[in-house]
Symmetry: C2
């Protein structure tokens, strides 16, 4: 696999890498003029390109082949999770990107303690791009601004997405048997969702998903349940 770089504009005959990607190419991988690389724009499209010119901070490329990418062959998965503290948040975003989650919403709930600032979310964007480069994915996981629990529920209903809520107790019948629609997966904070929040989600026909005999940490639940849902989605097409 050639080195891969994120580049928002890959449709023309030339392309420029942004500062972060140029730095990675020049000062981490030390790629010289003439090297062939792969570019991805986050929509699924890719391009083959050759390094044409470098300065100390910038890279210009000649684009030789465009690949539009195939449309997504499965339903979409949105993970809305109360952000865990510190590095666990970053690790969670990295892993959800690798698995192929389509969108991430930092969820504000009654018991939430972390409400990430925009600067933090901007930093996570580079975590997403790093994970895409490493894993060979071509579609960006979109990171939204943090959102109230009730707003996430309403939006899911408007967009006709089904809802799965991770909460200890009895699972809804058949909750993991078929996932054929776009889905929002709700993951609560440390201490979990309140009873009222669970009832509110139930009003939106949310199905409950449960991990047997264990209270999972936020990021463990997000990765394990996203894995189960994506696996079901891949198998349903």
């Amino acid at each position: 696999m050639s080195a891969r770089f994120y580049c928002s504009e890959i449709g023309g005959q030339t392309a420029q890498l942004d500062d972060a990607e140029s730095h990675h190419a020049l000062h981490v991988l030390r790629l010289p003029v003439g090297d062939k690389v792969e570019l991805f724009d986050g929509t699924g499209a890719t391009a083959c390109a050759t390094i044409a010119e470098v300065t100390r901070k910038t890279i210009s490329l000649t684009v030789s082949e465009h690949h539009p990418g195939t449309p997504l062959q499965r339903p979409q998965l949105v993970v809305a999770a109360a952000p865990p503290r510190g590095d666990r948040f970053k690790a969670m975003v990295e892993k959800l990107t690798e698995l192929g989650v389509d969108e991430f919403i930092p969820l504000r709930t009654v018991r939430s303690v972390v409400d990430p600032r925009q600067s933090k979310l901007d930093k996570l964007q580079s975590t997403v791009i790093g994970a895409m480069k490493q894993s060979g994915r071509n579609r960006l996981m979109t990171i939204h601004e943090s959102m109230e629990f009730s707003v996430v529920l309403r939006q899911a209903a408007t967009k006709k997405r089904s809802i799965q809520i991770a909460h200890p107790g009895e699972a809804s019948a058949g909750s993991m048997t078929s996932v054929t629609a776009d889905t929002v997966l709700l993951i609560g904070p440390e201490g979990g969702f309140t009873r009222e929040e669970v009832l509110q989600a139930t009003d939106y026909s949310a199905r409950r998903i449960v991990w047997p005999d264990s209270i999972l940490r936020i990021e463990t639940a997000a990765v394990a349940f996203a894995g189960l849902l994506l696996n079901q989605m891949h198998r349903s097409v």
Copy 2:
């Protein structure tokens, strides 16, 4: 949930916490004499106990109720993974414990770069215990010494465990549809298993499991695939 502590001997009328657990109770949670706690011995058994006496470094407890624990109701899952670097190894062990993996083997393969020393594995034992306390699990995930790939295959065959190998490419037909036997999940190092290793595993009737469109990091693959397999195992009983 009362505070939970690991204690290897909980069968008598009194119990003592070891140094690490005493420290947690005394200096982190600051529990006083008279507080009720829960003890687990890692076999599935638990006990209710009351703090009877404390010194600066030790805690003695009076045990009031013993619960032998129910036998495991599903097949066992052993994860044999090439250890990732640094904190990713610790995070992986934590998450596999939360999910309920039964045994972990640090796997030595052709492309492995990390071969953890015994002192490192001993430290991971405290990560396991921490994850058990937090998640409410009562069964210890056993951490083995690091083992050669070929030895893991031979042992799996001797113990009549089925083998699943995570490797990009085509999945074996029906590889995730039924998991009714004790299973060893093999996760390769950065750079993956060699062709020879995959062929060697195939000789032992290993099934291949694949994540679509992505090359997962070691710890992401371990957590996502262990999640899928455990979910299948729970559903097969």
